[in-house]
Subunit: 493 residues, 2 copies
């Protein structure tokens, strides 16, 4: 999809970019937390100033509506500001100091903090052209952690990406930081990503996209002479368990809520509920009827680009060709070229269990109802689920007490467990976890949203016996940054 | 080296063990922090009671002296107690709660904590039969994190391992926990490790040993359908930079200190200083003379087992065969079979730079002086270093100000940076970092010593909209555990 003037960056140019990122890292790694905060604030300011042009470009390139894109840009700005502030607040460093003599009475002077990993490569998402792309969460958290960043523009929105990169460049210039703190390259072919991920100067990778793409980056990174961390957020079907009591009481409301959620952003959210699991009952029939009513009156929506529209059509059709999968509801209006037609399918649990392909995410406005004969079938479906970003339980009090085994089981499968809410909608805050067991991500121990995302791009270092003058500010004896630290086992604020 | 009755556990028995570990995990994952603390205390108590038998077995199997083994067992007991207490104190969970309405005014109820990963396989170390083996740091931190554990006994000390495993079994029984919380298997062949690491129920791996072994486990784990984390602590040469001023002032003291350090525990410490780097000078000559005096009068010491003695001999000789590497000092007394003869070699920096093999750890009482023509050569050596557990700078005030570029560079290469001390000796506390960039470990973002080691075996989960009754204790509204938490962005104690 890449087009002139956005043709693939040559390997020669990539090498120069990587060398510049490495060279800039030698300076930027020692930047004060305050300076990083100022940089992220300056990027936020530049994006805010350029809102009109950014939103216009993104509308052209992604077919997403203006309101959604404005909100997403606002969220992107908030991420930059809040991650910058989190960096400055310094709590993420978990600074720890030990100065008590050891068991043999010997003097001890150990001080631990985090060091940035090195130049980071970021591969942005197609579905969030701002919040998970060029100036998105991965870039913001890597810069906040003290890493330099090379972004590969997403080939589906190169113009939007170029505008966002220009905003970052202006902020870097304004703060008189070396140019290599941030760089922007293009690549529609895998070879650009391969070159970047395999280069020894690159020390971590952020990615949001498909399982195929993320897993390939992960494999390249793990096969390096020195393996490096890859934070790839990949597919998730985000199962929703509709438990009997709640379904009986709330069938119409649940149908309305879920119809809106699975079609939000044209079904192109990584947290889209793609699997609705319930026991067959009169209540489920009512729910399905209400869902049908909701979906019939929806209209087809343009997908991000023609490649995604074709893939949606293909994966939807492949899913519908599986024996016993049938269409339950369809928007009345047919889709034009490039659009996705909202679709709900249904399948028996026994068949779903036999077809692993039905676990794969269908990116776009599609969801699948899994009809279970009984609670045992519900639990069998839960047990066979792969790792997920989210899992949702729709339940009343009685449902909960009767399904504790199910709840206990699904905890092992997801990064966020929701009760009586939809999974779409990801708050940016410390208490959020946006991540989950493989294949939802390649590293379930970290998350991509909220200030803890910074921790992905740093590692601990312990300074032993160093005088104050040689310690980073967060470890100096008199705590000049006034940050929370653990001193001799006690948390001090 | 494995011998009857310690023959390799069959695949059938391994499978049963794994299934039991998985089954026990379903219960143990929900154990209270207090119960985990009690379990670790009970294991500590059982080990303490069995001190005489444990130390006697370890003396027979490792040739390490009684005093050292008693100390190491004491440290192992301290690890169990302190990790258990850290688990109960709950701060490692970094519990975070957000209940402020979001930007659109919608209600928010997000609560994040850590969940244990699942059954963990631990491969103990040969050189620390207690502290990094069966009841060592990996087992202690995995149990404290809520994981069940399968230990593969180190084939060099199966009897010691069996005694330690029996102590753990008694503790598990005493607390009426399911038997599968802990299991002990044997394996001298790679196939036992391969079977364990590749089994889908296994969710993380702890390892201490060689680069060859650790990297193999890492590769198997990353090539799984669902890759899992591997915390392998592998080789490290722990470079020591002897800067000119300090060397001039302290040559005899430095020689004495380093002679003791590189031969501590027969040179079988993972933090042994294996590379001494200095600029050629009169001071370096004096240092070398003093080192020679120290080393000449040392006596050869029995290595852990004959395999290690042979490997030491082989790697030492291979190193000495590299052009321009010469013996600088040697214990006067020749080594008998199974012993290691304390040896210091020397090489020119230019030659060292040309032979990557000289970066490899020689496990045993051997260290290499790298003679540099000038500061540029010192920096070239530093720049070409691989990842290390530790790096040491021996320097006075003036050295420090003249070598800031060197110090800045080596920070990127190590997990612990020491000023004017020896790297041997690892305090067990939160401020310690025992880890480092590849190939020192396979995951520099974590450490194997101190309470933060628990974090290796857990991942975040966010509970959205759950009522108090369904939340883990650390997330309940009234904080019944009285732990430090972040509530609406504020750290609360």
């Amino acid at each position: 999809m890449s087009q002139l003037p956005y043709s693939d960056t040559s390997h020669t140019a990539l090498l120069a970019t990587i060398e510049q990122a490495r060279s800039a890292f030698s300076l930027y790694k020692n930047s004060s937390l305050q300076l990083r905060c100022e940089l992220l604030q300056a990027i936020a300011d530049e994006l805010r100033k350029d809102t009109a042009a950014l939103v216009a470009a993104a509308m052209r390139e992604t077919h997403l509506p203006e309101g959604r894109l404005k909100n997403e840009l606002g969220r992107t700005i908030f991420q930059l500001e809040s991650y910058g502030q989190a960096s400055a607040a310094g709590r993420w460093l978990d600074a720890s100091i030990e100065t008590r003599p050891n068991a043999t009475g010997a003097a001890v002077n150990l001080r631990k903090t985090l060091l940035p990993l090195g130049p980071v490569v970021v591969f942005g998402a197609s579905n969030f052209p701002f919040a998970y792309s060029t100036a998105g969460g991965d870039t913001a958290s890597a810069l906040a952690a003290g890493c330099t960043v090379i972004v590969k523009a997403h080939p589906a929105h190169p113009e939007t990406s170029t505008l966002a990169a220009a905003a970052i460049d202006r902020a870097v210039l304004k703060l008189q930081l070396p140019k290599g703190v941030f760089a922007h390259v293009y690549g529609a072919s895998f070879s650009v990503g391969e070159y970047l991920v395999k280069h020894p100067y690159i020390k971590a990778v952020g990615f949001t996209g498909s399982l195929l793409g993320g897993k390939q980056l992960f494999d390249w990174a793990q096969q390096r002479k020195d393996p490096i961390p890859v934070f790839a957020e990949m597919g998730s079907v985000n199962p929703v368990f509709l438990l009997p009591g709640q379904l009986h009481e709330q069938a119409p409301a649940l149908a309305e809520q879920l119809a809106a959620s699975f079609t939000l952003g044209a079904g192109q959210f990584c947290t889209k509920p793609g699997l609705l699991i319930a026991i067959q009952s009169e209540a489920l029939s009512r729910f399905e009827q209400h869902l049908k009513q909701q979906v019939t009156k929806l209209i087809p929506v343009p997908l991000l680009h023609s490649g995604i529209a074709n893939a949606f059509q293909h994966h939807r059709d492949t899913s519908l060709q599986v024996s016993s999968v049938s269409v339950l509801a369809l928007s009345e209006q047919e889709a034009s070229s490039g659009e996705g037609r909202p679709t709900v399918a249904a399948v028996e649990a026994a068949d779903w269990l036999q077809h692993r392909s039905l676990q794969q995410e269908v990116f776009g406005p599609y969801t699948l109802v899994v009809r279970c004969a009984d609670r045992a079938a519900v639990e069998a479906v839960a047990a066979s689920l792969e790792g997920q970003l989210t899992t949702t339980i729709m339940a009343n009090e009685e449902d909960l007490s009767q399904h504790s085994a199910l709840i206990d089981l699904v905890k092992e499968k997801c990064g966020r467990l929701i009760l009586n809410g939809v999974p779409t909608g990801v708050e940016v805050c410390k208490a959020m976890q946006h991540g989950g067991p493989f294949p939802a991500t390649t590293d379930a121990r970290f998350g991509a949203v909220g200030e803890d995302a910074l921790k992905r791009f740093a590692r601990p270092i312990c300074y032993q016996n160093w005088p104050d003058a040689w310690l980073p500010a967060e470890l100096k004896e008199d705590n000049p940054l006034r940050i929370a630290r653990t001193v001799n086992g006690q948390l001090m604020q």
